[in-house]
């Protein structure tokens, strides 16, 4: 055993020397990525459907986006924040009734068949529109897709549809799957949903339930010299503490989506050979939101909602719960959104005295025990941070005389309690902002949504004026007019508080220093990793 220890020490000394001796050349080499190697990545869950055309979610994209590509990907510096993938260009008609895509030539599916406009038409009409969780909303008016030639697809809409919305939806909603694989039989039962076939830089190679997914290099990929890696292996590590340990032991090289808990980052960042990367998630912003059940008469009173907003110390939440890896929110659009965000909205600075005054004004005086009223608080169990914020909110509410009882549920039970049974007064939720308010943000405050729709307004909030604004924005074609309407939307939400936006956060990657080209686009963790490489 002592032999092992010594050899390890020797190894360390040796590698330190090696590092020192190659430090200079390494800087020059960083621009020319190396080919080959197996990248091992931590995965904390195993999505049951890996088809990103049906399930447009980050959990699925994390694995499938390397196999199945979209028409365009998000970009830090591209026009409109996009870079071409399967589509080379996209042009919206002035009347909002059609969008024309010119497709990339010479692209092959993993089974060798050519990629054509027929595949795009099939994916759009047979999958995105009728089956996809997000596409059912965005593509609801899609009527037909014309394919005048093999490399042109023209989307035809029954009602004018803003081109800006379609553009913003490209990175997440437009995964193209092969028509010839899916055209026979029920799409939902197709075996390719668990072993996807695409055009991406990696082919789906193997899945061992409970252990790993393996993707192998696609030698016929259209990107010149890409991909660099030979293999990507996703190792399933259900316990969050073990991801950090596996990185330290060099068993894995990358843990994305904050698989390493925030509390461990400080320690991990000091470990030699590991780097903490906060970039690469700008297009995947999660929002920390207090959902409100307006059926409770106290909460239907705007003054009470304002009081709650004033009682929350957003800076404390950012510093203590998110350890600084977040930003305080002002309204329903996150600050880091380049198109729609406006800071020009009513704000609620932390002010306990004012909150107490507002509650007094509203007529909810403190009883002899100091309490005004009690309510049920349901923090969503999906993230540590939502649970911790639930504990904080309980204390913040106690300071203004509101007695909150925390109800902890597992994900399925929370889903049912909040979105179907409405058995909550306040809930803590983490909705996602997906680059355009019409994709999954307006639904959080819109009236008339049926019971049971997850991540939507299930708090019984109705505001005819706000609904009219949302409807108008959904059919406004002019980009600047549409953007202006969504700025108005932010003001109205911040003023009437159908929900309270507290903070916005993204994820963090921890990687070994040898992993190159990570975080080079705003949706990096869910992009195709064609240019990611490993230094040996």
């Amino acid at each position: 055993m002592s032999v092992l220890t010594i050899s390890r020490r020797g190894l360390l000394a040796g590698s330190a020397l090696l590092l020192a001796s190659t430090a200079l050349p390494a800087i020059g080499r960083a621009q020319t990525p190396k080919k080959g190697g197996r990248l091992i990545v931590a995965a904390d869950s195993e999505p049951r459907n890996l088809n990103p055309a049906i399930v447009a979610s980050n959990g699925v994209f994390f694995i499938s986006s390397k196999v199945v590509e979209t028409l365009a990907e998000a970009s830090f510096d591209g026009k409109d924040g996009l870079q071409p993938r399967l589509a080379l260009s996209w042009q919206g008609a002035a009347d909002g009734l059609s969008v024309t895509f010119k497709l990339r030539d010479g692209v092959k599916w993993h089974d060798g068949k050519p990629f054509t406009s027929a595949d795009v038409a099939f994916s759009a009409l047979e999958i995105w529109k009728p089956l996809q969780n997000l596409g059912r909303t965005v593509f609801k008016d899609l009527e037909a897709v014309d394919t005048p030639d093999e490399l042109t697809a023209v989307f035809k809409f029954a009602r004018p549809t803003p081109f800006q919305l379609i553009r913003n939806a490209l990175p997440a909603l437009t995964s193209v799957v092969p028509k010839h694989v899916y055209e026979n039989g029920k799409i939902e039962d197709n075996p390719a949903n668990n072993a996807p076939v695409g055009t991406g830089p990696f082919k789906f190679a193997e899945y061992k339930a409970g252990q790993y997914y393996r993707l192998a290099r696609n030698d016929d990929y259209w990107g010149k010299d890409e991909p660099f890696l030979d293999e990507i292996v996703y190792q399933v590590l259900p316990d969050r503490t073990s991801a950090a340990a596996a990185l330290e032991a060099e068993e894995i090289q990358l843990a994305a989506f904050s698989a390493v808990p925030l509390a461990d980052l400080d320690r991990i960042s000091k470990v030699q050979g590991l780097k903490v990367v906060t970039k690469g998630y700008e297009g995947l912003t999660y929002q920390l939101v207090v959902e409100i059940n307006h059926r409770r008469k106290e909460l239907a009173d705007l003054k009470v909602r304002q009081a709650i907003a004033h009682a929350i110390d957003k800076d404390f939440v950012v510093k203590t719960i998110f350890l600084g890896y977040a930003a305080a929110a002002t309204g329903p659009v996150p600050k880091n959104d380049p198109q729609f965000y406006t800071p020009d909205v009513p704000t609620y600075p932390f002010d306990v005295a004012k909150a107490n005054d507002l509650l007094d004004e509203a007529g909810y005086k403190r009883a002899d025990d100091g309490k005004r009223f009690s309510l049920k608080l349901l923090p969503a169990p999906y993230f540590n941070e939502t649970k911790q914020f639930g504990d904080y909110l309980r204390q913040a509410l106690a300071a203004i005389g509101i007695d909150a009882e925390i109800v902890n549920n597992d994900p399925a039970a929370h889903m049912k309690a909040v979105y179907t049974d409405h058995a909550f007064d306040l809930a803590v939720g983490p909705p996602v902002f997906r680059g355009d308010p019409a994709i999954s943000t307006t639904i959080l405050v819109q009236g008339g949504i049926p019971d049971g729709v997850p991540f939507s307004n299930q708090g019984g909030y109705k505001n005819a004026e706000l609904d009219a604004l949302i409807a108008k924005a959904s059919e406004t074609l002019d980009t600047s007019a549409r953007t202006a309407l969504y700025k108005e939307f932010q003001k109205m939400v911040a003023a009437d508080l159908p929900l309270i936006n507290v903070a916005e956060w993204s994820f963090i990657s921890v990687a070994r220093d040898t992993v190159g080209n990570i975080a080079n686009n705003p949706r990096w963790a869910v992009s195709n990793w064609a240019d990611t490489y490993l230094e040996s």
């Binding site: 390890r8 409970g210 252990q211 997850p454």
Partner: protein, 328 residues
């Protein structure tokens, strides 16, 4: 042999009823949990009302509880465990995929705790009240008080992260394409830490039981007689004292097998071992009723089978057991 067969027959008939009660009870319990498989599914996807209705229909969740229970039992009668919605696969395949892993993990951990536990118990019980007895008793108690997941994490930090002698988790080197002996060795190396974490905790139980049984046996007349006959001490300890203290341990072994299945949930998560325990946890989180029922059934069959073996071993170890049944 007829004695054993009679025991087997009676046990099998009883077991069928036990299993039926277990299945129906678990079904009702899981139905009572808030949220169903669709609720669990849309947590990670979202979706609109139409899509949710579609899913409920596809997964048969729009039928009444009674219809689903009846359908399940009818299929079970044909030895069909049904389809898992979490894995989109026949449940039989999902379980068979994980069962060997759990059996190896459990089997090794049980062997470790039983083997080491009884051996140390004999060592301690050979001289009750001595220093080594006190040391082992207190040490094992301390080990027993340690939570399994914590012991697992400590083992990981020491042996996998700091010393790097052993892998952090998993059942084998991922995507290594090893076969035969190389693969067996690989699996064995991966099992060292989880088996230790699981086994060492239960070790205390066997140790203390052995030691207590022996301490009592020392006071029996037959030990005095053996001494008077001038038998060597070694023979008295092993053949007379220890053998008499062994029986309760065998009983414990049967009971323990059920506990071990439960305890492995935590250890399997910490060490990322793809076993039945973790599968059960996923089935509950995903509200995958048929999958959970399948796991419970398989576990129940396992426990019944192990206890049957224990009973047979009992009959073998102690001639008094089952003597009354010899004639029937």
């Amino acid at each position: 042999m007829t004695r054993a067969l009679a025991l087997l027959r009676r046990r099998l008939v009883g077991s069928v009823f036990v299993l039926l009660i277990v299945v129906i009870g678990s079904f009702l319990l899981l139905e009572a949990a808030p949220g169903d498989a669709v609720d669990a599914y849309i947590v990670s996807t979202g979706g609109d009302a139409g899509m949710i209705e579609l899913l409920r229909h596809r997964w048969g969740l729009d039928q009444s509880e009674l219809t689903r229970l009846a359908n399940y039992l009818w299929a079970l009668l044909h030895l069909d465990l049904g389809q898992s919605v979490t894995f989109s696969q026949p449940i039989r395949n999902v379980i068979l995929d994980r069962l060997p892993t759990t059996l190896i993990l459990m089997g090794s951990a049980t062997a470790l705790s039983f083997g080491f536990g009884s051996a140390l118990g004999i060592y301690a019980g050979a001289r009750p009240g001595s220093f080594r007895d006190r040391f082992l008793s207190i040490g094992s108690l301390a080990l027993y008080a340690v939570p399994g997941f914590w012991l697992g994490l400590v083992l990981i930090v020491v042996f996998a992260v700091d010393l790097r002698w052993l892998p952090i988790g998993g059942i084998e080197t991922i995507a290594s394409a090893k076969t035969g002996l190389a693969r067996a060795t690989d699996v064995a190396i991966h099992l060292v830490l989880p088996v230790s974490a699981l086994g060492f905790i239960y070790l205390a139980l066997y140790l203390r039981m052995m030691r207590a049984g022996m301490a009592e046996a020392w006071r029996q007349d037959f030990v005095l007689a053996a001494r008077a006959r001038g038998l060597p001490r070694r023979r008295i300890v092993l053949a007379h004292v220890a053998r008499n203290a062994l029986l309760p341990l065998v009983t414990m072994l049967g009971l323990q097998s059920a506990q071990m299945l439960g305890g492995s949930v935590v250890i399997e998560s910490v060490f990322a071992v793809p076993g039945l325990g973790r599968l059960a946890q996923e089935a509950v989180a995903g509200r995958d009723t048929p999958l959970l029922l399948g796991i419970i059934l398989v576990s129940a069959v396992l426990v019944v089978a192990i206890n049957l073996l224990v009973d047979l071993a009992y009959a073998f170890l102690d001639p008094r057991v089952g003597a009354s049944e010899a004639g029937t």
